[in-house]
């Protein structure tokens, strides 16, 4: 499997090493080379400095056709854009975008993007611990099934109304 991680923070670095240890092909991107200091000396994947929302940068990093892209930078909007570029332009099979604003996270899940929201996760975890009950809150909000805009037009099937690539009504 080829995994791409955008944002080499603590979570990104830990996941990159986990996938690498399992023998997968890993590419991790960050706009700062210093972020790569988080990776251990044994990391065998590629660490590339660059903007993960830029299609050309991602393409050059070999993201086209990757199995998974995880957008885990500190910017919600950067993560949204990186995940959408990966899905719509680079044929990445599965993406997850970290969105810490709960409203935005829920809205994008409705639009077909798998999102993970630290705010919701931590709130639920702490509430669950204090009340000593599991909340049953999913840690990743699953998207509604998503159809590529291109496929939709080619097959004549409608794109789901909620999709960001759905045709827009003109006013």
């Amino acid at each position: 499997m080829r995994y791409v991680i955008v944002g080499c923070g603590r979570v990104g670095a830990a996941l990159a090493e986990a996938f690498d240890n399992d023998g997968h092909d890993v590419v991790i991107l960050d706009i700062s080379t210093r972020a790569f200091e988080r990776l251990s000396g044994e990391f065998k994947g590629q660490a590339i400095r660059g903007d993960g929302t830029d299609e050309d940068v991602l393409r050059k990093a070999g993201v086209d056709g990757a199995d998974v892209l995880l957008a885990l930078t500190e910017g919600d909007n950067r993560n949204v854009m990186a995940a959408q570029v990966a899905t719509e332009k680079l044929n990445v099979q599965k993406t997850v975008a970290k969105i810490n604003d709960p409203v935005r996270a829920a809205a994008y899940a409705e639009l077909g993007l798998a999102t993970v929201c630290r705010t919701t996760m931590l709130t639920e975890a702490i509430l669950g611990y204090l009340t000593l009950r599991p909340t049953g809150m999913p840690s990743v909000i699953s998207p509604v099934p998503h159809v590529h805009a291109d496929e939709a037009t080619q097959d004549g099937r409608p794109t789901p109304a909620g999709s960001p690539a759905a045709p827009q009504a003109r006013s």
Binding site: G75, N77, R78, V80, V103, A107, A149, Q168
Partner: protein, 225 residues
Amino acid sequence: MFVLVVGGGKVGYYLTKELIEGGHEVVLMEKDRERAAAIVEELGSVVVPHDGCEGKYLGEAGSNRADIVAAVTGDDEDNLVICQMAKHHFDVPRTIARVNNPKNEQLFRHLGVDEVISPTRMALGSIEQDIPVHELLHLAALDNELEIIEAQLQADSPAVGRSPGDLDIPEGCSLFAVVRNGVATALRSDTVLKEGDKVIAIGKADCEVRLHEQLIGTTSGAAAS
């Protein structure tokens, strides 16, 4: 018309000012409190001092009844998310995004933004117009990836001495006018083209290479931008 402008930089400020002068109802969102306060002093109480990317504040600013949302911050990813949230979460009929990276123009349209404005592309267009070019000149980008393109015919152009009817113009592309000595006329299929003519075409960006071959001549593939 109620317009919600997000981003109170120079573009957002002047846009808001012009819209107010035009008699429109405008709300400007600017997350920097000092900047927001400065604009209130200039333009009155039309500013919501919050981040327009936050769903909560975008709602509170009245996006659900906005006719147009214009996202003009300096960050492309923010502008994309503002427009998508406006469109899909608040049912705004028309969204406009400023893009800084011209490559994001097509992507943003594909992702549902109605109108994309690229200052970089505009500056590039002006620069190209000032330089004697041997290339296709992009005059304007329209909806559905269509572009208006100008080609100035040099002496060595394969189109000189021929008519549009004799040229192999790609499907989905149309030559519609010629500017000769500063006078624009509609291009007929029997108009004979001359050196120095500016031929105006409309078509999809992927017609460019063929159009370049027909009007400029085959060079080192420089037309594919």
